[in-house]
């Protein structure tokens, strides 16, 4: 049975049109909500409860969240300090462990890797409860230190997994040459590996930034006021008279901009990074 060339071409055109349509729908579904949050953040309050697309944009909502009585400045600072400290401590620790797991024979390595991954299956709320009691006894509730400690626990298993995946893909001959030339093993790690695995380390850092920056449950439970981070501060806009949506949107934009920018910077390595560790 032969198909006339004309019908075939028509079919192809219809098919590619449908394909464009499907891609357009995907884009709309994922970006309309984001666009709507952005629009709402710049809306004057009388337009928030309408579906207006055209309005006089205002920065009033951003001013409102950073001035009395909301004062989001300190919460932003808390988020920044907690996340930075977590990454500065957590990423080198993870890099060391990942290097050791990637390059050396270690007794019970399989079990160790399984254990590291399986910690990700422990529901965080189980970890939160004993930590809440521990930090209360130590007088560390509502401090940034307590949040840095729990964030380290969250990111380290992920970071080891990600970085190990990248290290496994790097051939060892450069390292061996450096070792023969008299470079110490630690020197190899800090000079050569850091340079070679830069994309992997950056990707892991960004991934951990997102996890730590958006972390909600632990600061909700472990902080009251002094150590409250930005995601938890969103709850303050959930007042008795209802949520002030335009301010929520403005705070939301301040919250997501850093992680969105960072993620876009490493997007090429991002997805491969997470799956590499488990494949191969």
């Amino acid at each position: 049975m032969s198909t006339p060339a004309g019908t075939n071409r028509a079919f192809k055109t219809v098919y590619s049109c449908l394909e464009y349509l499907a891609v357009a729908i995907i884009v709309l579904i994922f970006f309309v909500p984001i666009a709507w949050i952005v629009l709402t953040a710049f809306k004057p309050s009388q337009d928030v409860y309408t579906l207006k697309l055209f309005f006089t944009p205002t920065l009033a909502n951003f001013r409102a969240i950073f001035s009395y009585p909301l004062d989001f400045g300190p919460y932003l600072l808390n988020s920044f300090i907690v996340t930075t400290a977590t990454l500065v401590i957590g990423i080198p620790i993870s890099l060391f462990a990942a290097y050791s797991l990637s390059r050396f024979k270690i007794a019970g390595k399989q079990g160790l890797l399984f254990w590291i991954l399986s910690t990700q299956f422990i529901p965080p709320v189980i970890i939160a409860l004993p930590f809440f009691i521990l930090f209360r006894n130590l007088g560390l509730l509502d401090t940034r230190i307590s949040l840095i400690i729990v964030n380290l626990c969250i990111i380290i298993p992920f970071a080891i997994w990600l970085i190990k995946g990248f290290l496994d893909g790097i051939p060892t001959d450069i390292e061996e040459a450096a070792l023969i030339d008299g470079c110490s093993r630690f020197g190899v790690l800090t000079r050569i590996i850091v340079a070679l695995a830069k994309p992997g380390i950056l990707t892991a850092t960004v991934f951990c930034f997102v996890l730590s920056w958006n972390e909600f449950m632990f600061p909700l439970i472990l902080s009251r006021q002094n150590a409250t981070t930005l995601p938890v501060a969103l709850m303050l806009l959930n007042a008795e008279k209802g949520v002030i949506w335009e301010q929520m949107a403005a705070a939301g934009i301040v919250l997501v901009i850093p992680s969105v920018i960072l993620v876009l910077l490493v997007r090429k390595h991002f997805v491969q990074g997470l799956t590499l560790g488990a494949l191969d």
Partner: protein, 292 residues
């Protein structure tokens, strides 16, 4: 060789942190779960009551409700997410410049704060002025006046949709990277032999993608079972207890009712479910692929 010691020294700090987050809380919460302890009445742990908290859980309809809600929520999320992501991955995994731009941008929802998305959904699902309600009402008239967060079924749909929106881009991109790394000549050969696109998908794409699909299922299950932020900001477990997944119900028992002993027991039961699930997935993974 000094490497003999160095490899353990390098590993040690990370192992201490991981041990602190797995052994310590695991043992501690088990110990607490054997006691009757309400934080409102006393700052120190109450009397030892053995397994009573666990016995109580098995007779507690609230606990069984949470188990049911958790299973429905996780099942729906994993099945829908994987199906939709696979469709999106097939669409996007072609070498066209505009698709590469879309793939790059699709990582954005992953970076968004889940707590914020929960709140935003509440705003956009509002029947009076919400964008989603209005759009859905315009496209599907029967959905025009739905109180999305007022009815159990719709609230569950709303909650699942948040998780799907946040994770589908990530899962799709995972599958895209798997699909695009498959050798092109296999598909070329199938095309020459006259296989239909559907046959190619079932007999070539799916089997070749099996390991990466398995990883995507593991990740999606993990993310669904850990969902917490959107529950707090979107439904608060409601209406009633219809979206009170275990994670949230443990949180409520511990930090709103301050019943530490009982909450620990509930948390422990949740952990046991998760560990069994994890072991099951790991076995599948180890069977399929070499485990380094």
């Amino acid at each position: 060789m000094r490497d003999k010691y160095l490899k353990y020294i390098l590993l040690l700090p990370a192992l201490i942190v991981i041990a602190a987050t797995s052994f310590y809380p695991f043992i501690q919460s088990f110990w607490i779960s054997l006691h009757n302890w309400n934080l409102m009445n006393s700052l120190t742990m109450g009397p030892f009551i053995g397994l009573s908290n666990y016995v109580q859980a098995f007779h507690d309809s609230g606990f069984w409700n949470s188990v049911k809600v958790t299973l429905i929520f996780t099942g729906l999320t994993v099945v829908l997410s994987l199906t939709i992501s696979m469709a999106i991955a097939l669409l996007l995994s072609k070498n066209k410049p505009y698709l590469s731009v879309i793939r790059g941008l699709l990582i954005i929802p992953f970076a968004m704060s889940p707590a914020l998305i929960g709140f935003s959904w509440r705003f956009m699902l509002n029947p009076e002025y919400g964008l989603f309600s209005k759009l859905l009402g315009a496209v599907f008239p029967p959905l025009a006046n739905v109180q999305w967060l007022g009815q159990p079924t719709y609230a569950m749909v709303a909650l699942v949709s948040v998780i799907l929106w946040m994770w589908i881009p990530f899962i799709s991109l995972t599958l895209v990277s798997g699909r695009m790394s498959l050798p092109g000549d296999v598909f070329e050969a199938a095309r020459v032999d006259g296989a239909s696109p559907f046959q190619t998908f079932i007999h070539i794409t799916l089997p070749l993608l099996r390991p990466i699909i398995l990883i995507a299922v593991i990740l999606q299950t993990m993310f669904a079972l850990k969902a917490f932020d959107p529950v707090v900001t979107l439904t608060q477990g409601g209406p009633g207890v219809s979206t009170s997944i275990l994670n949230y119900s443990v949180y409520q028992t511990a930090f709103q009712f301050f019943n530490m002993g009982y909450a620990s027991a509930l948390g422990y039961l949740l952990a046991v479910i998760l560990v069994i699930l994890a072991a099951f997935y790991m076995r599948l993974l180890v069977k399929g692929e070499g485990w380094r």
